[in-house]
């Protein structure tokens, strides 16, 4: 009796200690970046060009991250959401569905560097495009699509069966039911899924090394609107080093005297972005939820 009580107290203390330790580590990581960044950080850093002699900035790579994000999501969202609808509403329990699920699991566990290899061979070498934003986006799609597919399928599946039954009972066709009864209710979940998927685009680096490229862009001319000109920042057929890749690169190559400061500030920006995506997806999902249920 006394021993089991002592064990209980000890275990409780250990579990508390573990939790406090882990949370402290997390806080320390974030605090480290914030503290290291404060002395050198300015808003100009976000838009300026990288420089070899000065702190410079991350304008172009930040732009590339945003660009890759939009491009990837343009490719992923329609397919992912439609696929999710199919999986939730039309797919039965056949071997095909099983195969799709197994494929999803498999692809979500394939290392991103292997996906990067695959993208390199297919979208860089085989197409002859070289390192391009489009190649990177297509590569990212390889694992973002199954992810979004799963998240939107889950969101649609959570719509209660009575909502469906009510609509079908009124004589609506299956598609009308999905369009007017199911989707509006599922939208918050789907949006959360989209934003979570988008957050991963920001953080991913391994799959982009050999697909979107590694070169450091120096200056972008935003007035060059020709989407096929590889010099134009608007073109999908150009090198597009993203922020994550940029941080990785600063360890191997070095950009000049301020590698350290630049990488620290870039990390902070990256963390803030990813956090914003996580919080944003919660907030947006919640806000939409209220709208939908208010209607």
């Amino acid at each position: 009796m006394r021993r089991s009580l002592a064990a209980d107290r000890l275990a409780t203390a250990v579990l508390w200690a573990v939790a406090v330790f882990v949370i402290l580590v997390l806080v320390a990581i974030i605090a480290y970046f914030v503290i290291e960044s404060i002395p050198t950080f300015s808003l100009a850093f976000l838009v300026a060009d990288p420089s070899l002699t000065d702190i410079g900035g991350i304008g172009p790579v930040l732009w590339n991250s945003a660009y890759m994000l939009v491009l990837t999501m343009l490719l992923t969202v329609p397919l992912g959401v439609l696929g999710g609808i199919y999986m939730a509403e039309y797919a039965g329990e056949g071997w095909l569905t099983n195969a799709i699920r197994f494929s999803q699991e498999l692809i979500s566990s394939v290392p991103s560097i292997v996906v990067g290899l695959f993208g390199f061979a297919l979208f860089v070498a085989a197409t002859g495009w070289g390192f391009t934003a489009l190649g990177g986006a297509l590569t990212l799609m390889v694992f973002n699509l199954p992810l979004l597919l799963r998240l939107s399928e889950q969101a649609i599946r959570t719509v209660p069966a009575d909502e469906r039954a009510a609509s079908l009972a009124l004589g609506a066709t299956k598609w009308q039911t999905i369009r007017h009864a199911v989707l509006p209710v599922a939208i918050p979940g789907v949006v959360t899924g989209i934003v979570l998927t988008a957050g991963r685009v920001f953080g991913e680096a391994a799959a982009l090394l050999f697909t979107a490229g590694l070169s450091t862009p120096t200056r972008y001319d935003f007035s060059n609107l020709n989407p096929l000109d590889p010099q134009s920042p608007w073109s999908p057929f150009r090198n597009a080093t993203t922020l994550s890749v940029f941080i990785w690169k600063s360890n191997s190559e070095g950009l000049g005297n301020y590698v350290h400061e630049v990488a620290n500030m870039s990390s902070m920006v990256l963390i803030v972005m990813v956090l914003a995506f996580n919080l944003g997806s919660r907030w947006l999902g919640g806000a939409l939820q209220r709208r939908v249920s208010g209607l």
Binding site: M1, R3, S4, L5
Partner: protein, 292 residues
């Protein structure tokens, strides 16, 4: 008829109850012993969940080696009061117990008393059978093992005795270790849970609607079991089945919901009286089926 506590000959000679036995119950056959010491006592007990008062001002006592039944409409706080006796309300966030609960005259909620100690003396059988996902043997041996029993022969002994007491032994003795507790039927599972409680050797057994998930045959088995257990244990049983209350209990407490939606104790008396000649109109309406 005033036998001292211990094996009560009155219980032993009691005929097997049948559903229609209510009217034929004789006071001298109820096994009620007014001189037996008070085992459990609730004094002005109120329980709230958060802001909401669930049950208020309950005062009652349960004598040793007797069976007390709690009856009343759904939501009137029977389970809540029951859970006070073994401090299971501690586990519900926001639950607050006021008043005094005594076990053998000692305050169960005193700061020096550990819930773990109380729960060893006061076993609880849940409304829904909840065996562990382990073998039948491990289910029954769980309590004794946790309380430090390691000797194999003694454990075997405890398991067999508990299963025999719970009238399950013959049905499961051949695959005690092979079969999972979850693979039993609902009625068998409930008896397994009772055996599991008995194996920890409590002094009091609380049962929260132990038969609500069971068929009439399994129910009858459990009722017979209660009649036997009374010789060694003090029992409080919650039930929605009036006839069951009438068959198994010595005294019955009737709770209902007040105007403020909080439950309260309306009447507590000998079971026979509650069912034949209650003092309160509400009780009469309830037991005669005019209410709830």
């Amino acid at each position: 008829m005033n036998t001292p506590q211990g094996a009560s000959p009155v219980t032993a000679t009691r005929p097997t109850p049948t559903p229609l036995a209510i009217a034929s119950l004789q006071p001298e056959l109820t096994g009620l012993n007014p001189d037996a010491p008070v085992k459990l006592r609730a004094q002005d007990v109120s329980v709230r969940y958060g802001d909401r008062m669930a049950v208020r001002d309950v005062t009652l006592d349960v004598r040793e080696h007797s069976v007390m039944a709690f009856i009343g409409p759904s939501g009137c706080g029977k389970s809540t009061v029951l859970r006070c006796f073994d401090r299971m309300n501690d586990l519900i966030p926001g639950a607050a117990v006021e008043g005094r609960i005594e076990l053998d005259g000692e305050d169960v909620y005193a700061p020096s008393v550990l819930p773990v100690e109380v729960r060893r003396k006061v076993g609880l059988v849940f409304q829904r059978p909840n065996p562990f996902p382990m073998s039948i043997y491990e289910n029954v041996a769980f309590g004794p093992r946790r309380h430090g029993e390691q000797d194999k022969a003694r454990l075997d002994d405890v398991v067999e005795r508990a299963l025999r007491q719970a009238a399950l032994w013959d049905e499961v003795k051949d695959d005690l270790r092979k079969k999972s507790g979850l693979s039993l039927s609902g009625g068998q599972q409930q008896r397994l849970c009772i055996a599991r409680t008995l194996a920890t050797d409590p002094e009091v057994i609380l049962m929260d609607e132990p038969c609500s998930a069971l068929d009439p045959i399994a129910t009858l088995k459990i009722e017979e079991l209660i009649a036997q257990l009374k010789a060694d244990y003090t029992i409080v049983i919650v039930t929605h089945n009036m006839q069951q209350a009438a068959r198994v209990s010595d005294r019955t407490a009737f709770f209902t919901l007040g105007e403020d939606r909080a439950g309260y104790l309306v009447e507590l008396d000998e079971t026979l009286r509650i069912f034949t000649n209650p003092a309160n109109q509400l009780t009469e309406d309830y037991v005669s089926g005019r209410f709830g």
